[in-house]
Symmetry: C2
Subunit: 528 residues, 2 copies
C-alpha cells in the first residue's frame, strides 16, 4: 500500500478485472486479463482486484496468474463471507508480493431480509468470522458491507467497528445499487469517521455505481470527508450502468487539485491508451462524448473550432489532451520499417508479447504494408491484439472462402475449414448477404447450433484500404460468447470472428466434460 505518511494520497483500487469483467459483454480470457493487468500496472494503480476466485476455475487461474506475474500493485481476490470462498481467494493470491483478500457481506435491511434471511446480530457475527479467517491467511484484508449506502447508519457503524476489531485494514462502503447522492453519501463517511472506534487505523474506501449518473461525484464527495481509497474501473465498465470511471475520478482530482487538494499515483498519460486497450479487448466501445477518453472529449483540439476563437487555450480547455495520453502523431510505420522499429512501437503501445508472438505480428505487418502505404498505431494495436488469442488450440481454422453478392443474383458463400484432426471440410450456402451466407456455410461444416445475436464491423483506422474489425456475439444453449478478428477484408474478418466464437463454444463443451464444476458456487452474486 502507498505509505500512509501522506494523508492526501488517494489509493486507486482498480476492479476492471472483477466488477468490470463480470458485466455482460466484458468477459476476457486469461491472456487478455494479463495484458490488462500489465497495462494497469504501468498506469500506476495501487490495487488490482483480479477476480472472484471461487466463481469458476478460470477465475481462479486468472487471479493466480496475475498474482504470480504482476509486480507492483497489491493483488486482491474477492470472496463472499464464508470459509470456502475465503480459502479459495487466499490460495489464488498467495504468490503475490502483496496479497489482499476482499470479503463482502450484505448489511442493508432489504438484503438481510430477502437475500440472506439473517438478523443484524447474525450478519455482524458472520462478518467478524470472515475477516478473522482472511486475516489468518493475509495481512491485508478489506471488508465491504454490501449495499452500505442503504444500511441503517447505526448498524453500519457497528459492523464496521467489529470488522476493524477483527482485523480488517480497509473498510469499503459500497453504493451497490447506485442509489446514493453526493451530499448523503458524504454524510455516511463523515458519520463513520466520527463514530467508529479504531477508524484512524484503517483506510476508508468508496465503491460507487453509476445508475443515476453520479458515481464520480459520489466518490469525490466521500474523499472530501476523508475516504482515501476509490474503487473504480477503466471506462467505467461494471454491473448495469457500471462503476466509477477511473479516468474521470483521476482527472477530476488532477484538474481540480485547487479544490480537492489530493493526489494519486496515476500516470495520467496512460489513461487514453489503457482505455483503448480495454475497448479493443472487450469490444465495449466508449461513447463518442464520454468524458476524458471519448472521441469528442477534446474535439476542440481536432480542428473543430479552428476559427481564431482559441486565442488562448484555457478559454475552452481545462485539460490538455496530451495529459491523458491523446497524441496526434499516429502515423508511424511503413513498408520499409524493420523488425526493431515494430517491436519498439508494440512496446510503446503497451503490449507485452513473446518473441514468437512478435514474429507473427511482424509477418502480418509486412503483409499489411504491401496493401497500404501507411501503418497507423491502430493497425499495430489490432495486429498485437490478434495475438492475445494465440495459445488457444483451435478446433477449426479457416482454410479459404469465396463469396458472391449482388442485386438480382443469388448471394452465396463457400468455405473450407481445417479441423484439428487434419481433415479439410467444405460446404456452401445461400443467404441474405455474403456474411449471412458465409455463417450458414460455416454452420453446415461445424454442425454447432449457435444463434448470432449481435454482429458489427468497423474500420480500424481512418482510411478505406485499412483493416476492418469484425465482432460477433452468439448465443449457444443460453450462454453468450463473443469473437473478434481483424483483416483487410471485412468478409474475412467476419469469418475469422465467427470461427473464433465457434472454437470457444467447442472447447468449452470439451472442458466442461473434463472438469466437474466443483468450485462454481450455487448462487452467483454480483458483489459489492
Amino acid at each position: 500500500m502507498p505509505p500512509p505518511t501522506d494523508p492526501n494520497r488517494v489509493i486507486i483500487f482498480d476492479t476492471t478485472l472483477r466488477d468490470g469483467e463480470q458485466s455482460p459483454g466484458c468477459s476476457m480470457n486469461l491472456g487478455e486479463k494479463l495484458e490488462m493487468a500489465h497495462a494497469l500496472t504501468a498506469l500506476g494503480v495501487d490495487v488490482i482486484e483480479a477476480g472472484f476466485p471461487i466463481a469458476s476455475p478460470g477465475d481462479f487461474e486468472s487471479v493466480q496468474a496475475i498474482a504470480r506475474q504482476i509486480h507492483g500493485p497489491v493483488i486482491c481476490g474477492l470472496a463472499r463471507c464464508n470459509p470456502a470462498d475465503i480459502d479459495r481467494a487466499a490460495d489464488a493470491v498467495k504468490d503475490a508480493a502483496r496479497p489482499r483478500i476482499h470479503v463482502f457481506l450484505a448489511t442493508s435491511a432489504i438484503h438481510r431480509e430477502f437475500k440472506l434471511r439473517m438478523t443484524p446480530a447474525e450478519v455482524a457475527a458472520k462478518a467478524v468470522e470472515g475477516v478473522k479467517r482472511a486475516r489468518d491467511r493475509v495481512e491485508d484484508v478489506e471488508f465491504s458491507p454490501e449495499d452500505a449506502a442503504r444500511t441503517e447508519l447505526d448498524f453500519l457503524t457497528e459492523v464496521v467497528e467489529k470488522a476493524i476489531e477483527a482485523g480488517a485494514t480497509t473498510l469499503n462502503i459500497p453504493d451497490t445499487v447506485g442509489y446514493a447522492v453526493p451530499s448523503h453519501y458524504a454524510s455516511i463517511i463523515r458519520h463513520l469517521k466520527k463514530h467508529v472506534r479504531g477508524i484512524e487505523k484503517c483506510v476508508l474506501s468508496v465503491h460507487c455505481h453509476d445508475d443515476l449518473g453520479m458515481a464520480v461525484a459520489n466518490s469525490l464527495a466521500a474523499l472530501g470527508e476523508g475516504a482515501r481509497q476509490v474503487e473504480c474501473t477503466v471506462n467505467g465498465i461494471g454491473e448495469r450502468a457500471g462503476n466509477t470511471s477511473l479516468e474521470e475520478v483521476v482527472m477530476a482530482l488532477h484538474t481540480r487539485r485547487d479544490f480537492y487538494k489530493l493526489t494519486t499515483g496515476i500516470n495520467t498519460r496512460h489513461l487514453y491508451p489503457v482505455s483503448r486497450k480495454l475497448s479493443h479487448i472487450t469490444g465495449m466501445a466508449v461513447q463518442r462524448n464520454k468524458a476524458i477518453v471519448g472521441q469528442n472529449a477534446f474535439a476542440h483540439e481536432a480542428g473543430i473550432h479552428q476559427d481564431g476563437m482559441l486565442k488562448e487555450r484555457s478559454t475552452y480547455e481545462i485539460m490538455k489532451p496530451e495529459d491523458v495520453g491523446l497524441l496526434r502523431t499516429e502515423l508511424v510505420l511503413g513498408k520499409h520499417s524493420g523488425r526493431h522499429a515494430l517491436k519498439q512501437r508494440v512496446t510503446d503501445l503497451g503490449y507485452h508479447l513473446t518473441d514468437e508472438q512478435l514474429n507473427r505480428v511482424f509477418d502480418e505487418f509486412k503483409k499489411l504494408a504491401d496493401l497500404k502505404k501507411e501503418i497507423y498505431d491502430a493497425d499495430i494495436e489490432a495486429l498485437a491484439e490478434n495475438q492475445l488469442q494465440a495459445g488457444t488450440r483451435n478446433v477449426w481454422t479457416l482454410a479459404g472462402f469465396t463469396s458472391t453478392a449482388g442485386t438480382g443474383s443469388q448471394t452465396s458463400a463457400a468455405v473450407s475449414l481445417r479441423h484439428q484432426d487434419g481433415t479439410v471440410r467444405r460446404d456452401a450456402a445461400v443467404g441474405n448477404g455474403p456474411i449471412d451466407a458465409l455463417f450458414k456455410a460455416v454452420d453446415r461444416v461445424t454442425g454447432v447450433p449457435v444463434k448470432v445475436i449481435d454482429y458489427r464491423v468497423r474500420s480500424v483506422t481512418q482510411d478505406m484500404d485499412a483493416m476492418g474489425e469484425a465482432q460477433v456475439e452468439i448465443d449457444h444453449e443460453g450462454k453468450r460468447s463473443k469473437g473478434r478478428a481483424v483483416s483487410v477484408d471485412v468478409i474475412e474478418a467476419s469469418a475469422l470472428a465467427y470461427l473464433e466464437v465457434i472454437n470457444r463454444v467447442v472447447s468449452r463443451k470439451s472442458r466442461d466434460r473434463l472438469k466437474p464444476t466443483d468450485h462454481v458456487p450455487t448462487e452467483v452474486v454480483p458483489g459489492p
Copy 2:
C-alpha cells in the same frame, strides 16, 4: 412556461437540437430535427432549443420549421449578444405559440480578456442592450453569462441583476467548460439567490458540461439551492464530453424524490425510445454501460442473474425498466400483418410519417417479411428512419451491383448508378475487400473525391437473417459528412450509405453555388 405556481416543478430545457447537434458526429438534417422535435414533445420537455439561427441558412430553416410545426413546448433560438444574431433568432421563432430568445455573452475574466477584449463595464452594458433588444421582439428572454462558473461572483451578481432589470425572464448559469464541482456550483446558485435583486421574478437555470463526469451531480446540486430549469440533452450529447444527460437527471429526480422533493413534466416511459431514436438518427451509439438507456443498464432483468438471487426485485433494482420505456415484447409483426397494423406500430414507435412515406415503409416491410419470419421493432424503426432521408432529390441512385471476394482470388465489385439526368453509368474496381472495391467502383462513376474516415456495420436485431445497418463518414475538402442505410445485405447497405453521403456532398456543392453564405457568422462560437 409551466405555471410557477408549483415551486417544486423543474423545467426541462432540451438543447439536443442546438448544443447537441453542433457537436461532432451529431449533425441532423431538417427532417431528422423535426422528427426529434416531435419525439421531445411527446416526452414532455418544457422548452426545445431548436438551433442557432444565424449559424447557417439551414439552421434558420430548422428553427423556423420547428416553431411552425411543433405545438406544446416553448421554442427557443440561440443568439450571441448582438443585433444581427438577435434579429435572426427572433425571425426564426416568431411563428411559435410561445417563442423564446436565448442571448449569451461571456463574463469570465479569461473570456473577457482573450475572446471579447472587453472591460467588465462593457460586458455588462452589452448584456443589457442585448436583453432589451430581445425583449422588444418576445416576452420570454433567457440570458446566459457564458462561462459563469468561472466568473468572479461579484461581477456575475452584477450582470445577472442588470439582465433581470433589462427584462430577462430566465437566467442561466452555464458551466461552459465543465469545470464545476457540485458543492462549489451549488454555492454560486445560493449566492445569486441571496444577493441578486429581483431574482424571485425569474427562473434560475443550470447548464452543465460533463468534462469531469459531474454534469448530472452539478445540475442536481444547483436544483437543491433553488435553480428550477435544467438544460440537458438526450444521451448527454453535446460539445466535447457532452451536456447533462436528460434521462439521468430526470430519473435521479424521479428515483430519489424522497431526497430532492422535485418533479418534472417528463413522461419517463418515453426516455428509452427517444434515446434510441437519437442514436439511430445520428449514428452516435450509447455505450453499453450508460446509465438509464445503455444496453446493460437493466441487465439484471435480462436473464443475467436468474439464479434465485432476485428474491425481491428491489434488492438490486432501484428503477424498473418499464418506467423508462424498456419493454421486452419486441416481437410484433410477420408476413401476414396488414397495412393498418404496421401503421399503428410505426406510430407507437413515435414516428410521424406522411401517407406516401408509410406506403413506402409498407412495401419495404413486405419485402423484408418474405426474407425473415419475424419482424422486430428495431426492423420497423430502421425502415421508418430510411424515410427520413426521403424528399431529398438524389443525384445518384443505385441501379445494381455485384461483388466477389475470397481467399486467393481477386476481390472486385461492379456498380451501375443512375444519374438524375436518366443515364445509367457503370464501372468496376478491385479492392482489399468487397466494400473497399465497391466504394472504389462508385468513386470511378461519380468522380467525387472523398476520403472514408469511418465505416461501420451492425446488425439491427438479434437474428442473423435480419437487416444490417451501415454507416459511412467521409471527408470532402475538409468537411465531414455521414451516410446511413439499412438492408438485409450488408454490402448493399454499405453501397446505399456511401451513395447517400456522395449525394449530400454533390447537393451541398450545388447549393453553395446558389446561396451566398451571407448569414454565416465569420466567427462561430460554441455557445454556453
